[in-house]
Symmetry: C2
Subunit: 335 residues, 2 copies
Amino acid sequence: MVKRATIGDVAADAGVSTATVSRVLNGGAVTEATTTRVWEAVARLEYTPNALTRGVFAGRSSTIGVVIRDLSSPFYLDLIRGIDEVAAANDSLVMLANTFRRVDREVAQVRTMDEQRVRGLIVTTGEATDGRTRRMAENGTPCVIIARSVLDAPPGMHSISLDNVEAGRLMAVHLAGCGRSSIGVVSSGRRTSQIERTAGLRRALADLGLPLPEDAVMVAETEDEVSGAVDTLLVRGRDRGKPLDAIVCTTGRLTVAVHAALTARGIAIPGDIAFVTMDDFPWATALGITVIAQPSYQMGLKAGELVVDRPSGPVELVFAPTLVARTSCGERQKA
Amino acid sequence: MVKRATIGDVAADAGVSTATVSRVLNGGAVTEATTTRVWEAVARLEYTPNALTRGVFAGRSSTIGVVIRDLSSPFYLDLIRGIDEVAAANDSLVMLANTFRRVDREVAQVRTMDEQRVRGLIVTTGEATDGRTRRMAENGTPCVIIARSVLDAPPGMHSISLDNVEAGRLMAVHLAGCGRSSIGVVSSGRRTSQIERTAGLRRALADLGLPLPEDAVMVAETEDEVSGAVDTLLVRGRDRGKPLDAIVCTTGRLTVAVHAALTARGIAIPGDIAFVTMDDFPWATALGITVIAQPSYQMGLKAGELVVDRPSGPVELVFAPTLVARTSCGERQKA
DNA sequence: GCTTTGTTTGTAACTAGTTACAGAAACTAG
DNA sequence: CTAGTTTCTGTAACTAGTTACAAACAAAGC
């Protein structure tokens, strides 16, 4: 095992002090002759500076911490690509952790990020870490919370979110425009974003004279619960005397499961039932699924910039959703 | 901006030396009374140890570096989930970088990983970093190369790969079993894994009396080139007097594009042409696409374990692919 | 009561860098 | 040729921890 060269080895090899080597590396007043000798020594010894030591002195690391709830969602993937883009442009790296939707892991991983003295923290979870993120913000670590509602962003944190009410409204207007009137909703839980989407949908539907009963919304926490939820919605629609002609899914995470539940029952989309869901994905075109797209890559870029640019006060950014109309709601095709 | 508490602050607050605090934190001989006082001080000052400083002393960081060629592929996503699982189990984090298939970024990011003194490095690229990874291995940093062929793993590195020849063979046998005889191949380039898959396919096809001409293989580096490649294959098949009845895609990255190219031409799958591709993905079931699956999550777990367990000699692990038969090759459905 | 042994604690040196300050060399001006 | 200024370089202190070694202390044995 070969020991790594330190700045001291380089200094000795070039016949100068470590201070001079440091100046050559970071830009300071050094003669051209000395500079040349130092760079030659660096090359000869294959010296790679230790970012940890630099971080100790600077009081923080150069990496950006990212804690993701659920790495399997394409939304988060694009988000990370955006963050990574900013990181790469700043000679920085992304330190990633996936909580698998488990609160204990989230707490541990945010703590580890804090221990790593990340330059900034981007969190898509924040269920149980408000105390720590607040303190990190006080300690000068920019913290960004993503995908949670603006409403419940912890103090001191930047917030990046989608206009969830508008997302619901877009769904409502589109479905009504496609002649649908009996709508069922599959939602993923009690997170604010989910509630806001449903609320936006309900309000817009009501404005169009299409009330959405409380029991036309089913919560499915996991993919396993989706099939049962869809069943219940179908039955309730029939019981109500208005068989379902549309299903809305308020989370991209459950799109596959809802789609599978419908096709497994031999339900034709959009023949029998229209289908809209959240978050665009590569296969949506092939499948003709109409979606509400989030600008996830842009959200990632912005999150990265907030960490790098460190604006003074807390920033709140709300992004607009867009509807990508395909065929799953029985859209009229252009002639 | 509140300054963070250091081990010195804790020591002063508890009325002991920093050495004693360190002993309490890391386990050493300390009286129960002292231990209690130290923990109380830690809680009172909300002390969070600095992992950078620890890393400086230990000579390495506790994080695992991962450099990915293309974060958009589901294969890599599962891989990262596997690595992250091992990291979380070891109170470690994943340091992620996405090269976007650009060699300059790859070089810079592997260098940054080295500067960060990652505990180990997992690379899915390794086109231009052989020199550095070899040196990192010499310096005691376990390096794992994934998804490249066993054949060209740089010296000193662990290697995790798929049996690509077997993957090609599985495709050949399956297609022949479904009665297909005129096959076209879309490959993504000159990487060894791609070449081995095509070679495995060709050999197995030859054994079955079904030769695969050189010009029945088209290379498409990007998604944009896929449509043209498919056209060429179609034309050549017709010119040869044996119109294509199957298309093989040797990379999961281009599955969407190949599928789109076929449907855009009104080609029925499997009615007109059978379709097999690499890597399983969530929507494959809904679309009925037959695939060769890689155990990507397991590969990630193993990669993480190689980093954490640091076996002495270089380890070579070859995983077996499995065929997941659905309907895209005109498979006979069970009665 | 004194020595021996074992346990607990503190001092100081160490990790690999950065930087304030002081001193030396070189350059310009009188 | 000296004084003043500028430019370059080295010394030493600093970042936040860990740990080898020595000292202090208490308990047990003689």
